[in-house]
Symmetry: C2
Subunit: 286 residues, 2 copies
């Protein structure tokens, strides 16, 4: 690729962890002349400079004052707090997006921004919620879906700019409504995480450490997500409580019916297992 | 290894699938002069002969008449049916064991055997419940735990013979009471299987095929067990309903509390996530 004029000459990334840092690397790789501004805490920023993932670094939001694109890449509740402070910190116009795992609450908070800001909600599906700047890599977004959640008030030019920006980084933009997004991730991501966490806790407490040693590969694979940190999930639940709650309720309902079946002498699991198997084939076929 | 006199000169294996077939191969490898008798349906038996996993094959239980060791390696309910028919089919003495995933029901059925049979319940923890004779291999049991469930009525000589037999095949015998075994596997094996099946069904139905394509590696890993066949789980549930039901109830209870937490503005997942993480470290450290 020969260098082209950057779509956004200066990109401020607030929260420079795994996703934010990877985005910094990706922007610098795609448009070496673009200025990447990283806003985070000192140890992270030192690492960002060493990795050449950012050109300007600092702890204060005011460093983003002249950015043409602002990317909120902290946990969701912190992103919402940044949205509140943005009008004071920035003097000019800017396109603003985020990379959070839930969208409705962030989109609602962004609706309060003055008109000089054009917000487009985003959620790159690229790697897990774990990992810091140390694991960031420029190729993270290549070939991966990047969900965008425009609504009736979204600026069309901002949406097309962000879409082009994502495509230039190798990502595949997919548009959906904020509520539809949050319902989808409640099932695809939040429910599996919470269920695996609950399962690992229940199994460990029931059998104890000695007998846990007798577990097979099945339990190990099933519980891979069980070492996720709680912090990020607190934010996710806080900003998507209705959908997550409904998803948990749907699973409890099926488990309750399974429990009833188990107690019957003519227990019939065929339909449930057949359904699970079909969906698993669909999932793995993708 | 130089060949030694076989611990059991003739071993009848009833149900010649993945476990039964692997056992046949392992016995022939360890003691070439031992006679392995395979009892199953014709297509399986033809394959058993081609693989040299058995010396004598047939569909009738009577072929086991003179065996010194009988291994029940069919699904659990079929094993229990074989136990009922064994006294008529066999004329002499024999040590009898099984390789089923639940133990209390089989041990109880074995208590009805005449005194010339010495039963020791067994459960090799070697590979999943899936896979037929085609995937059988002699090394399956090497370095893997092989649970034995003697109780007050177990013949001491039969127990020491089976223990030596397992050790000769490279397995690691571990004794536990039948009820303790069934409680343990309800948590280590049956609950994860049922939960993953329920989860895959709920997620698939909620999001549909198109959006399932947006799922990440987390959901794929979590649901690896979701393609298990229903048949074997019907037997497991039928012979371990109390423990499986309690395990499901324990998980429903934790999920219910999670759901309550999600709805609170000060939702606190720290304790649950910390517990899951500790148990996951214990599990993976093994």
């Amino acid at each position: 690729l020969t260098e082209q004029t950057p779509l956004f000459p200066s990109v401020a990334i607030i929260g420079f962890g795994f996703i934010g840092g990877s985005l910094g690397l990706a922007v610098k790789q795609r448009w070496p002349s673009a200025v990447v501004i990283a806003i985070d805490q000192k140890p992270v920023l030192e690492r960002a400079l060493r990795m050449r993932a950012a050109d300007l670094v600092g702890e204060q939001l005011e460093l983003a004052a002249d950015a043409s694109l602002v990317v909120l890449a902290a946990p969701v509740l912190a992103n919402i707090e940044v949205l509140r402070r943005l009008p004071e910190a920035m003097s000019g116009n800017a396109v603003v997006t985020d990379v959070g795992s839930t969208k409705a609450a962030t989109v609602a908070a962004a609706a309060e921004l003055p008109e000089r800001f054009q917000f487009v909600g985003g959620h790159p599906l690229a790697g897990g919620a774990v990992g810091g700047i140390g694991e960031a890599r420029a190729e993270l977004f290549e070939g991966r879906p990047w969900l965008l959640t425009p609504d009736g008030s979204t600026d069309a030019l901002a949406l097309s700019s962000i879409t082009a920006f994502i495509e230039a980084l190798g990502g595949a933009p997919v548009n959906m409504a904020p509520d539809a997004h949050d319902r989808m991730v409640a099932y695809l991501s939040h429910l599996p995480q919470l269920v695996v966490t609950a399962l690992m806790h229940v199994v460990g407490e029931a059998v104890g450490a000695d007998r846990l040693a007798l577990a097979g590969a099945g339990l190990r694979d099933t519980t891979r997500l069980a070492s996720s940190p709680a912090g990020i999930w607190r934010d996710i639940a806080a900003t998507n409580p209705g959908q997550v709650s409904q998803a948990i309720a749907a699973l409890i309902d099926v488990l309750g019916r399974l429990r009833t079946q188990v107690a019957r002498p003519d227990a019939d699991f065929d339909e449930l297992f057949a359904s699970a198997r079909r969906w698993k084939e669909t999932l793995d076929g993708n």
